[in-house]
Structures are given as C-alpha cells and as structure tokens.
C-alpha cells in the first residue's frame, strides 16, 4: 500500500544543510579537502556553464555565438533583452502562469485542508478506505489519462480556458496535499481539540480558528509544491490550450522557439527572462523550496 514514506524527506530535510553539520563531529569522507573542492568545483562548473552560456549568449549577436562562443560579448546587445521585455507577449505568458498557479494553490488548499482535517481527527465509516482511495493519486501522472481528460475538459466546455488547466491540477495535487496535511494536523496536541469540544467549539470552528493558524508551515509547504508543479507544468496546458494569448510561460517559450528557430541569441534571452522568476524565488525561499519539493517529489 502507498503509505506515508513520501513524507520522510520533508521531515528530514526540514533542518537542511549547514546548521547541524557544524555541531556534529565530522562524517568521514575518503578525500582530503583539496581534492574534494576540486571535484565539487568541476561538478559545479558543469551545472553553471550551460546556464551562464544561456544568459550571456542572450547578450551577443547571432554571429558572435559562433565566432566568440566562450568569451563575454564584445558589444553587449541589451536590445535582445529589452526587445523581449517590451513585448506584451512576455508579460502575458508570465501573467497567465501566475494566474493558473495562484488559483491552483488557492483551490488546492481550500479543498485539501478540510479533507485532511477530516482524515486526521474524525472517525467515520469508511474513512480508511476513502483515505487510501485519495492517496492512490500519488502514483499516477497526468499522462496516463491525458486523452480522456482532454475529452472530459472538452465536454465540460473548458477547452482552451485557464480553468481547464487549473481544475485538473487541483485534482492531481489532492493526494500529496492531503497526505502531508493530514500527517501535520495529527501532530497538533490532542488536548487542544478535546478541550475545545468540551467548551462547545464545533469541529468547523476548531478547524478554522485553531488548526489552520497553527499549521502555517505545512500549508506553506503544500502551497509551494502545488505552485511549482503548476508553474512548470507543460503537458496539461499543451493539451488543453490552443490560443497563444492564453499560454503559460512553458508553452509560450516553446512557441517563441518555434517562431525564431535559429535566432539563438533571442531564444537565449527569452529563456533567461522566463526562468528568471523561478531563479529569484529559489534564492529568496531556498529552504521552503527544497523542503517542499523533496516532500512533493512523488508528483514529479
């Protein structure tokens, strides 16, 4: 049976990197410090070079990508970047992604949190069966049912609308969200609920006024997971949307690439600008992102 294993990395990684390493006696690594750094810098180079080549390449002229592949641009072509920033297209695809992702997060939390509360605190007939039923969703990617999903979205009249992307995303994020939230809700001290019930506070009020405010960290984690999954989603919008004005950035990027084909300098600038929001988010919220994404990895 699918069980709570998916939660382990989140728990473990919650106190990530650095902090504990300083206190503990050293773990043994077979290499000395210098060879270690050498290896690390080599791998770091392999990670960074493509990213740098992309960002810097966006500042070159097309011909210079060939004649001067490794150096900095002789003349920085700011126009490549400004030209994109001036188009409505760039802002529109980011706006679309933001709308889709925000709605997905809001709905995911609104739907998953009450369900998770019910599974955490209420014992009703069939609760175990229903929980396992919802958790089935951990295993199955969009792709398995993408064609019937397409037909369903069409029959609901949601084809080529943002809701046609949002609603299935909410559905597919239920499993991991309910699992994480239920486990966290259970950790809250039991006396709280008991005394609240004795004092005449109903379950719903307890959920709204006690559980939710006390569970902000896990709510943030779930929000991060469903936001990032939505922000990076490609297959579902690809199948649902066909008006470029409604594309999220992932589709917009492929669309742009298809249009400019070999004008690599522009494509590189466009890639850089479209991945910029994710990069900034990453720098600002590293801890949440790492904890959230490793926890939500089941969803790929």
């Amino acid at each position: 049976m699918i069980d709570t294993t998916s939660q382990d990395p989140a728990v473990a990684i919650e106190e990530p990197a650095g902090r504990r390493a300083d206190l503990a006696p050293p773990l043994s690594t077979p290499l000395g410090t210098l060879p270690r750094l050498l290896v690390l810098f080599l791998v770091a180079g392999l990670i960074v070079v493509p990213l740098l080549a992309t960002a810097v390449g966006g500042f070159k002229e097309l011909g210079e990508l060939r004649t001067n592949p490794f150096g900095l641009p002789k003349v920085w072509q700011w126009q490549n970047y400004w030209g994109i920033l001036e188009t409505a297209r760039y802002w529109r695809i980011l706006g679309n992604s933001l709308f889709i992702a925000s709605m997905t997060v809001a709905l995911t939390l609104a739907v998953a949190a009450p369900a998770a509360f019910a599974f955490a605190h209420l014992r009703f007939f069939g609760h175990r069966f229903l929980f396992n039923y919802l958790i089935l969703g951990l295993t199955f990617p969009f792709a398995t049912a993408i064609l019937p999903l397409f037909i369903k979205i069409r029959d609901l009249g949601l084809l080529d609308t943002h809701w046609g992307v949002i609603l299935p995303q909410v559905a597919f994020s239920q499993a991991v969200s309910i699992l994480l939230l239920r486990n966290a809700f259970r950790q809250l001290p039991g006396e709280l609920l008991e005394s609240a019930l004795v004092d005449g506070c109903g379950y719903i009020r307890f959920f709204l006024w006690i559980t939710l405010p006390l569970s902000r960290p896990i709510l943030a984690t779930v929000a991060v997971i469903s936001f990032v999954v939505s922000w990076n989603n490609f297959l579902l919008p690809l199948v649902v949307l066909n008006t470029p004005a409604r594309y999220p950035w992932t589709l917009g990027l492929m669309d742009y690439q298809g249009e400019f084909m070999v004008a690599w300098q522009l494509i590189l600038a466009f890639i850089t600008l479209t991945i910029l929001p994710a990069m900034i988010m990453f720098v600002l919220a590293q801890k949440h992102l790492v904890a959230g994404l490793t926890a939500g990895a089941v969803k790929g």
Partner: protein
C-alpha cells in the same frame, strides 16, 4: 498503513457527535475533484482503449484488443519503451552514485557546502522545457558550445541531436544534469539522520574510511536510497517535456519516451482509442512498479 494517532479522545466523533456532519461537509469537494479528473479519466482510458475513435464521432467502432496489438508491433513504441528503460539504467548507474558522492562530499564542515548544495539543486527547479532548450542550444551543431569545443580541437561540427546514435545519449546527459541534485538532497537529508558517533567509534576501532562508508553510511542511507530509486522509476515512466524541447522525438523517432509517443501518435493525430491504450499501458506499469516496489523494498520504511 500505519495508523498511529495522537487523538484517542475523538475516536467516535467527539463529545458533540458533530463529527459525521463535519466529514460530510469537508470531504465531498476533495472526493469530487479527485474522482472527476483523476479516477474517471483513468477508467475511461481503459474503456476507450478498446475503440477506434477520433474523439468526435459516436463511440461505436469497437475493436477489442486491436490497439494493444498494434502497440506491441509498433517499432517506435518499442524504441520508446527501451528509451524509458535506458532512463532507469542511467539513473541507477550514473545519477544515483553521482548524487551519493556529492552528498557525502558535502556532508562535513566544508566552506561553501550549503552553496554547493543549492547550486546542484538549482537545475531541478527549472522547468523541463527550459532545461531542454538550454541544452538544445548547447548541443546545437552550428552555435552550441559542445560543437564549438569539438571544432576547437579539430573535429567537424557535431550535430548530436540530429545523430541517430547520439541524440538519445544527449537526452540522458541532460536528465542527469537536471535531476541528480534532487537525489543528492535526499541523501543529504538521510546523512543528517545518521548518528555521527558511529563514525567516531568506528574510527577508534580502526575502520578505514572506505569501511566506514560501506558499513555505516550505506546502511544508514538505505531507506533514502530505496526512496530515490523509487522516484527514478516513476519519474522515468512519466518523462516527457524535455523530449519535446530537445528533440521532438527525432531524429527518425529514435528519442521518444512512452509519454511522448502517446502525445505525438495519440493526441497529435487525435487517435483517442490508440492513445488511451498507451495510457493504460503506462498506468499498468506505474501501478505495478509502485505496488511491487513498495511491497518488496519499502516494507519497513
């Protein structure tokens, strides 16, 4: 399912007995979403898979297992299936050891360890399409860095992504580039839960650093390794976006995965029945992998 609860008092719906009513309000939205958009489509895929259907006409051209028979005989699909297996192979043989090595190298006090970890994790947060396009540029025969390097040391321009023998190798390279950092993070988390005093004790007893790695680190990390392999298996089965960005399945349909096959040959041509059959195969593979893997390897985790 380990049912441990810290809430014995509420077992029967609590003193006010409002539990059932609350459940009746709290559960239906999640159940409805999940049933309508996840479970029903999976069930419908199983049904549509028996038809030859373009999604528009009446669903009446029942063909039995014809779609599945076609699938088995389809060369592109067989290649796609092998490609999925290759992702698993590369994940286990290169990505996993690399991730493990990096996690171990970054485990001790080391200047900049946190920075390295974050950097290695960075590609994982990029969308697959963005990573795919970045590498499409890197591999480009005319403008890409790799071809430039090859030319710099006297080779002809390398059009790797257009080369039947090399295109998929290129895809696998990008997979390792993008995903090893994620697995490294799992191992970093796992390492933190190993008792450091074991290492001290082992060192006092004269264990070599290899022995300490082999007999303390590896067993300590075993649950994480199992988890990481599990993610690799499931991730491989749903691999798609990057194929579109890197190769579009070409050259000559040699770089498809099962999902990209489903997209180009099922959705792209509106062969709903055929595409659904591919979905069903995927579903069965996912289910089999998930359930048997959990049963075999993750019983006590």
């Amino acid at each position: 399912m380990a049912e441990t609860t810290s809430f014995p008092a509420t077992r029967h719906g609590g003193p006010r007995g409002g539990g059932l009513l609350t459940a009746l309000i709290f559960l239906p939205p999640a159940l409805t979403f999940f049933t309508v958009f996840v479970i029903l489509p999976i069930g419908e895929a199983a049904w549509y898979g028996f038809f030859n259907w373009n999604g528009l006409n009446l669903l009446e051209n029942f063909v039995g297992f014809e779609n599945y028979v076609q699938l088995v005989g389809n060369k592109v699909f067989s290649r796609a299936f092998v490609n999925n297996l290759l992702i698993i192979a590369i994940s286990l043989s290169i990505q996993l050891p690399l991730a493990l090595a990096m996690a171990v190298l970054l485990a001790d006090r080391l200047f900049g360890a946190v920075g390295f970890r974050m950097l290695f994790f960075l590609p994982y947060i990029l969308a697959d399409v963005a990573a795919g396009l970045i590498w499409r540029f890197m591999f480009d025969g005319d403008y890409g860095l790799i071809s430039q390097i090859a030319q710099g040391i006297g080779f002809a321009p390398l059009h790797l992504l257009a080369d039947r023998d090399w295109a998929y190798v290129a895809v696998l390279t990008v997979i390792v580039w993008k995903y090893f950092g994620f697995h490294m993070m799992l191992y970093v988390a796992g390492l933190q839960s190993i008792d450091r005093h074991l290492y001290e004790a082992a060192a006092i007893d004269g264990a070599s650093s290899w022995q300490r790695f082999r007999f303390i680190t590896i067993p300590g990390l075993a649950p994480m390794i199992r988890l990481s392999v599990f993610f690799s298996l499931l991730g491989s089965l749903q691999f798609f976006d990057m194929i579109v960005a890197l190769t579009g399945g070409g050259p000559l349909n040699t770089t498809h995965t099962m999902v990209s096959f489903l997209y180009y040959f099922g959705i792209g041509r509106m062969r709903v029945g055929f595409g659904s059959a591919v979905g069903v195969v995927l579903f069965i593979l996912c289910a089999t992998v998930a359930f048997s893997y959990k049963r075999l390897f993750m019983r006590d985790d």
